[in-house]
Symmetry: C2
């Protein structure tokens, strides 16, 4: 199965655009788990179990695993087999390096860890991206317009040709999409710009962070981000689902919250704004 097919199938099988943002933070996970031998593993396992009927994808924030040292990589390795088979596995590592280093990162995330795709920073250009898009069965989400406040510093710089830098990145993403395995990270905190970007890049998949804790508007975001088939966008929610409860039965609350997001997103993607 190609990456492109996996992405489409994941959305159809789960009837969901919800992507679970796996950002396991020891300072935020339910207290009772802190007594376990591997709190992060137990927490993530419970989250996966509680969300697997509602999500089409899981985005692992690599920073939160790296900070745990060797143990973090072990935990990551143990978690991936627990994901539902249909789900797209995203390594959110924002990599971007010269060719021979990018080769190593591709080997790490695609072969060592069997992720389906990674997030890639565009600044270093084509040879930093190529090692991730050479194979039909693996793909990338290129940082386009990110959800954080600092995104304006460079991404919204106006170029001599009239484009903003993020639009130039979007155009490059389209030009690199020969194997149908390139997508864009487009933050929900810029829901107005999502529409313009969607028109610009056709059916290119979007990975959309910024919903929940970061404050993006869900309805506008979903309607503006989906493609003409009401698909083609992974709506990422992390903290707002993961830390919905600190109680022993947190997994029930996580499940309810994930269901709520799945349904809300489906509502918005299948109805027209009035």
């Amino acid at each position: 199965m190609t990456y492109h097919q996996k992405l489409d199938q994941a959305i159809l099988t789960s009837n969901s655009l919800l992507c679970i943002g796996m950002d396991p933070d020891l300072s935020k996970i339910p207290m009772h788990l802190m007594n376990s031998e591997d709190p992060v593993f137990d927490f993530c396992r419970a989250v996966i179990e509680a969300t697997k009927d509602t999500a089409c994808a899981y985005k692992f924030n690599i920073a939160f695993f790296e900070v745990l040292g060797e143990k973090g990589w072990e935990t990551l390795r143990a978690l991936l087999p627990l994901l539902p088979a249909h789900a797209v596995r995203i390594a959110d590592a924002k990599v971007g390096d010269i060719g021979n280093s990018s080769d190593k990162y591709a080997e790490t995330f695609f072969d060592e860890f069997e992720f389906d795709c990674v997030t890639v920073a565009p600044y270093m250009g084509s040879d930093s991206v190529q090692p991730f898009i050479r194979r039909e069965d693996k793909g990338i989400f290129l940082l386009g317009l990110t959800s954080n406040p600092g995104s304006a510093d460079f991404q919204r710089l106006k170029l001599e040709n009239g484009n903003f830098l993020y639009q130039e990145v979007a155009d490059k993403a389209v030009s690199w999409n020969g194997l149908l395995n390139v997508g864009l990270v487009t933050g929900a905190t810029h829901s107005e710009d999502l529409k313009e970007l969607r028109d610009r890049v056709g059916d290119l998949p979007f990975l959309v962070p910024g919903i929940g804790a970061q404050g993006g508007d869900l309805g506008k975001t979903v309607r503006n981000a989906v493609n003409r088939h009401s698909r083609g966008a992974l709506i990422n929610v992390g903290r707002d689902i993961l830390y919905a409860s600190g109680e022993e039965n947190f997994n029930r609350i996580v499940n309810q919250k994930a269901h709520w997001y799945q349904e809300q997103i489906n509502h918005f993607r299948f109805t027209i704004s009035v």
Copy 2:
């Protein structure tokens, strides 16, 4: 000691601008080491031992350790204490993420692993950079003009205000340098542009990759990269020193090659081109 002082002291103590690029590639290290229990550790230990009297800094290419999984992080952790005390420890991870993720990366590289500085990708802007420059004892090298062929794709885009994007990044680096802990990555493959960048940013430290295997001109690079005190630039050499020999006595050849670079660089920085 502040980061700024450490950088200056490292150059003065070693009488060198040479930075050793630690890119340990299993497919390139001397054959006889492959029988050891941890070939990467043994190789890197030998390289550190053979170069410690010639180098002011060591740049660890994190991709080459990550690809080894948990083992790679163990190896990295075991290597850092072997570095000479004066040497600046650079984590070349090209990180760049939203605030709370950057916090985690800062914790990983500065506290878990005790690196002095990291390389940071600018695309996501100020809040992705801030967590790395809050402390006087730690610093960054921000990607400015990188040494790879793809650097032209975005870094050389002309902005409406007449600047190239990399010049805008350089200006931001200067504006973020309140604690004297911000530097720029400026590739040796653009030696003509180094002069212009040096004039633009005053004494800001440069980390200069691209010498050796990547083909940058050593003389021009050194003369154009150093500041008005003939310092302020770390000239990184990786493959050309690390893989100078595949023989059992490779460490002698590595030592000779590192000495050669140290002396050549000193020659160029202390003499004027005729």
